[in-house]
């Protein structure tokens, strides 16, 4: 019904006046405190100027005054939806800098928790995407299953949302004894609910009409804007850090990188980005199953290799990992003392959001909200 949108209405004789709407920091669907200054011609968006910085919590300045392990709780609070995945690049980078090789069991635990956190993040992304389109119920179903994952995290690390669980050289606690059984329960429930959400939301024809041919992001523009994660893979580009530069034990596990194929509407629209997230949940379930399959039973001391005082040698490293939202990189410069000389966090949502003005011109206000939802941004990471 809605063919590719071409807005070439010639308004020459009609003296329309552009209205500038301020979708301010308090707006039901800006996913936090983001202000969009939208220039609107009737209902059609002609220009968007995102204003960020409403949640700038001085992360990089604070890191320069704290010791290396003290930084981890602040890293959790950057992308507070996928905190486990946040800690991963920092911890792996520091271990590489200090030359600590962590035993396989701890790497497996880290991968399992990272993939569980990826599922939790994608559940929230799809839930709020449905909420932006006006469908309230999938939000409730997906959040009901997210609670199961949060319970397991709470058993392991004590926190529901922000964990400080991965330490430099090991973990805070060992996994709970019922770890294997709970992971399998989570996977079976997640698969059941995803199938239900596919029929209720993703397959719903109104939802399809709302998302196809909206916010089309061609692959080359995506790469030029440095976009990464499901937003880039939604445009059909096969780039996943777990495959191209494997860290932990990702090269020993077989899972396929989900790429948008443009089944509905054109390649790289909101529907593709959303379906990539739905299918990535399935891939994460596969990885967790393989981890549980060859998970050593006897428990080992997880704090064996944690150094008493973390003093890395002089040097710098840019360590990156495949976060649920995209590539999260930490540029750590150490000058041999206890405090990092400079800690730069390359946040994925900061870069993914910069593509919004490019792809939302010529669409309607309702589409702008959908495009913003499909980029899956989180403000803690953007403003750092």
């Amino acid at each position: 019904m809605t063919e590719k949108r071409i807005i070439d209405v010639d308004y020459s004789q009609v003296d329309t006046e552009r209205m500038r709407i301020n979708m301010g920091p308090q707006h039901p669907s800006t996913h936090g405190v983001l202000r969009l200054e939208v220039e609107v011609d009737g209902e059609i968006v002609t220009d968007v100027v995102p204003h960020i910085g409403y949640l700038h919590r001085c992360f990089e300045k604070a890191c320069e005054k704290m010791s290396y392990p003290q930084v981890i709780p602040f890293i959790d609070r950057m992308d507070y939806i996928a905190s486990m995945n946040n800690e991963l690049p920092y911890v792996v980078g520091m271990e590489k800098l200090m030359g600590i090789n962590v035993p396989d069991r701890i790497q497996l635990i880290r991968m399992a928790f990272a993939e569980l956190n990826r599922i939790a993040n994608h559940q929230l992304a799809v839930a709020t995407f449905g909420l932006d389109a006006g469908a309230f119920t999938p939000f409730l179903y997906l959040f009901r299953d997210r609670e199961m994952i949060l319970n397991l995290f709470e058993k392991a690390s004590g926190g529901r949302l922000l964990y400080n669980y991965f330490w430099i050289g090991g973990l805070m606690h060992d996994v709970p004894p019922t770890f294997k059984q709970e992971c399998l329960n989570i996977i079976s429930t997640v698969r059941k609910t995803n199938e239900e959400v596919m029929n209720l939301l993703i397959g719903n024809s109104i939802f399809i009409e709302r998302t196809i041919n909206v916010g089309i992001l061609p692959a080359d523009v995506a790469v030029n804007f440095g976009v990464s994660g499901p937003v880039l893979r939604g445009s059909g580009l096969n780039y996943d850090l777990r495959r191209s530069e494997p860290y932990l034990l990702y090269d020993k596990f077989d899972f396929d990188v989900v790429v948008g194929k443009g089944e509905m509407g054109t390649l790289g629209d909101c529907w593709d980005r959303n379906i990539v997230r739905m299918r990535e949940m399935e891939e994460s379930c596969k990885i967790i199953e393989q981890i549980i399959a060859n998970f050593p039973d006897e428990s080992s001391d997880v704090r064996a290799l944690v150094p008493r005082r973390v003093k890395p040698p002089k040097g710098e490293i840019y360590s990156k990992a495949e976060n649920p939202k995209g590539e999260l990189g930490f540029y750590i410069v150490s000058d041999g003392t206890v405090n990092p000389y400079r800690m730069r966090a390359r946040a994925t949502s900061f870069v993914n959001l910069s593509v919004l003005p490019e792809i939302s011109k010529g669409y309607m206000i309702a589409d702008l909200i959908m495009i913003l939802g499909s980029l899956d941004i989180v403000l803690g990471e953007i403003d750092r």
Partner: protein, 219 residues
């Protein structure tokens, strides 16, 4: 029935008519408190989990409203930064009168983990708006939040409307005086520095109104 349980209470019940009408009004206000749908940071995700099926916030009659005009109480869930300070003030001033503030999470209470090095963080939202209930935690567990919500509802249901003031216990009276003093002080500060602070002068700058570059006058 629990509805008018204050009636048989000899001390608080201010006679049949005035006491009952006041309790009814308080009961209505406390049992259907609509909150402003507005999250700042990590506490907002815990806040979404509250609305979800597992911890259902609607059991307390709290329905999310998107516009400050229809909201009864505002939940400041997350870190309040300086750039956001004006907005929180404007939002608070837009809400219609019997309004309450609940500060959720240690960032909103006292600046939280950013108290030491956060040059851009407001160390506690009570520097901006008078707060009624503080919920500690980073992020607070849903049960802690519900305890705060129940405490807020209890506070609303014991508020004095008619001549109930004389009968209140000393400690309630002191708390009430403190709250009124805070609101009084806040109103004075807002009025005294009105030009600088409250109006929407610092709504923000955009590429089109380029006069923000010359620091003198602002658009």
């Amino acid at each position: 029935m629990g509805l008018l349980n204050r009636l048989d209470d000899p001390i608080q019940g201010d006679g049949i008519i005035l006491g009952t009408v006041e309790d009814l009004l308080n009961w209505g206000r406390s049992k259907s408190d609509w909150y402003l749908q507005f999250g700042l940071a990590c506490c907002a995700i815990e806040f979404m989990a509250l609305n979800a099926a597992h911890f259902d916030m609607m059991r307390f009659g709290a329905i999310p409203r998107t516009s400050p005009r229809q909201a009864d109480f505002i939940i400041v869930s997350g870190t309040v930064t300086l750039k956001m300070a004006d907005r929180i003030k404007t939002l608070y001033e837009q809400m219609s009168e019997p309004r309450y503030v609940m500060s959720m999470g240690s960032c909103a209470n006292t600046g939280g983990p950013y108290w030491e090095h956060g040059y851009h963080v407001v160390k506690g939202v009570d520097r901006l708006i008078p707060v009624d209930v503080y919920v500690p935690g980073c992020p607070p567990r849903p049960e802690a939040f519900f305890e705060g919500l129940v405490k807020l509802q209890k506070m609303i249901s014991t508020q004095a409307i008619f001549r109930k003031r004389e009968k209140m216990s000393a400690e309630d009276l002191a708390a009430l005086e403190l709250r009124n003093k805070k609101i009084q002080e806040y109103n004075e500060r807002a009025a005294q520095e009105n030009i600088e602070f409250t109006n929407a002068k610092h709504v923000g700058y955009s590429r089109y109104s380029l006069d923000f570059l010359n620091k003198g006058e602002q658009s």
